[in-house]
Symmetry: D2
Subunit: 137 residues, 4 copies
C-alpha cells in the first residue's frame, strides 16, 4: 500500500525592513503581499521553474485573481520571517499558493493567493503551462 506523497513545500526567508513598518511599530498589512510574491517565485525556482523565463518564453502572465490573508500576530523591524509555501489547489487554469508566515516558531499570518494564466498579448485566459503542473505537485 502506498502512502500519500509528501506535499512539496519551500520556505523562503525574509528580513523585515524599516520601510515595511508603519507608525503602529509593526509590519504594515500590505507588505506581506510583497513577501508572498517573492516566496512564490522562490518556490518555483526551488522546484525547477524560472518564473521570468516562463513568462517571457511562454508569452504569458500569471496575474493574482484572489487574495485571502489572516493576520494573527504582528511582525517587527529586523525580524527574520520564514514563508512556508505549497500549492493548495491546482486546476487546468488556476493555481493557488498557500503560505504560512512564521517567526521564531510562531505562526504570524496565513495566506492563500490564487493565480490564473493569461496570454501576454491578448489578455485572454490560457491553460497553465505543463511545467507548472509537473513542478508543483
Amino acid at each position: 500500500m502506498s502512502e500519500a506523497p509528501a506535499r512539496k513545500t519551500y520556505t523562503h526567508r525574509v528580513r523585515v525592513g524599516y520601510v515595511d513598518t508603519d507608525l503602529a511599530g509593526v509590519v504594515h498589512h500590505s507588505t506581506y503581499l510583497r513577501y508572498l510574491e517573492a516566496a512564490r517565485v522562490e518556490f518555483l525556482r526551488h522546484h525547477g521553474v524560472d518564473f521570468r523565463l516562463l513568462e517571457q518564453e511562454g508569452h504569458l502572465a500569471m496575474p493574482v485573481v484572489e487574495v485571502e490573508l489572516r493576520y494573527k500576530l504582528p511582525a517587527h523591524f529586523d525580524d527574520q520571517l520564514g514563508l512556508e509555501t505549497w500549492v493548495g489547489r491546482l486546476t487546468r487554469a488556476r493555481l493557488r499558493f498557500d503560505t504560512h508566515i512564521w517567526c521564531e516558531g510562531k505562526l504570524l499570518t496565513e495566506a492563500q493567493i490564487m493565480l490564473c494564466c493569461i496570454d501576454m498579448a491578448t489578455g485572454r485566459p490560457r491553460v497553465l503551462p505543463d511545467m507548472i503542473h509537473s513542478a508543483c505537485v
Copy 2:
C-alpha cells in the same frame, strides 16, 4: 411601515500612479491595499470620524486582521478609480469595510477588510469606540 435605512457609503477617488504599475503594464495587486486604506480613512472622515484623532486620543490602533480581495479587471496608469466603501459587518470588537473599485462604470475589484481594535500600549483587544458605531451605520 418603515423601510430599511439606506446603508452609508462613501466613494473615494484615486488616480493610478506610474509606481503603482508593474512590468505586466497593469496595477500591481498589492497596490490596492494602499488605495483601500485611504478609502477607509476618507469614509470615516466623511461620516465625522477623524481617524488620526481617534487613534491618538483613544490610545488605540485598528489593525487589519483579515483581507479578501477578488480582482476581476485590471487598472492602468492614470486611470481614475472610484472606491465605493461601506461597513459590511460591525460587532462590538470588529469592523469590516467592504469596497467595490470602479473605473468607467466597470467593477474592477471587490474587497473585504476586517479590522479589530487594540490598546496601543498593551496590544490587547478592546471594544470599538462608540463613535465608530454611530458614524458607520
Copy 3:
C-alpha cells in the same frame, strides 16, 4: 523693457497615508518619490500635457536619471502636503523638475528630479517632445 516671465508652477495636494509612515512615526523617506512622481504628472496635466498619451503615442519613456532630496522636517499620518513644482532646468534631452513640499506653511522637503527621454522600443536617448518645451516654460 520686458520683465522676466513668471515661472510656471503647479501645487499638487497629497494626503499622507498610514502606509506611508514607518516605526519612527513619520513619513518614510522613500515615500516622497511616489508623491513627487504624481506631482510631475499633475504639473504636466495642468499645463496641457497628458503624460500617458505622450508616452503611448510618442512610443517613448521618460526615466528618472538623477534624484536629489533634502529632508528638513518630517511629515506625519493624515497631513495634507502641498507639492509646489516647476521646471528648474530644460535642455534638448533633459528635464529637471524642482519641488518644494509644504505642510501648514513649513517647508518639509526640497527635491530635484532629472528625467531624460528614451525610445520605448530601443531604449536609446531621444530629444524631448516639443510639447514638453512649450508646456513647461
Copy 4:
C-alpha cells in the same frame, strides 16, 4: 611609512521582485531607496552593529536627511543585484553611506545617503553613538 587603511565595505545581495518594476518593464526609481536601506542595515550588522538594538537601547533614530541618486542602467525583474556600501563621510553628527549597485559586472546606480541622529523622544539632534564610529571606519 604607513599605507592608508582599506575602507570597510559590505556587499548586500538583492533579488528584484515583480512588484519592484513598473510599466516601462524596469525597476521603478523609488525601489532603490528600499534596497539601499536594507544595504545599510546589513553593512552595520556585518561590522558588528545591530541597528534595531542601537535605536531601541539608545532611544534614538537615524533619519535620512539627504539623498543623491544617479541612475545609469536599468535593472529588471529577477535580476540579482549587489549593493556595495561604505561610509563616504562621517562627522560627529552625520553619517553618509555611499553605495554602488551592480548587476553582472555593470554599474547600474550610484547613491549617497546622508543620515543624522536624533533623540527618539524629543526629536532633537544628537551626536552619533561611539559604536557607529568604531564600526564604520
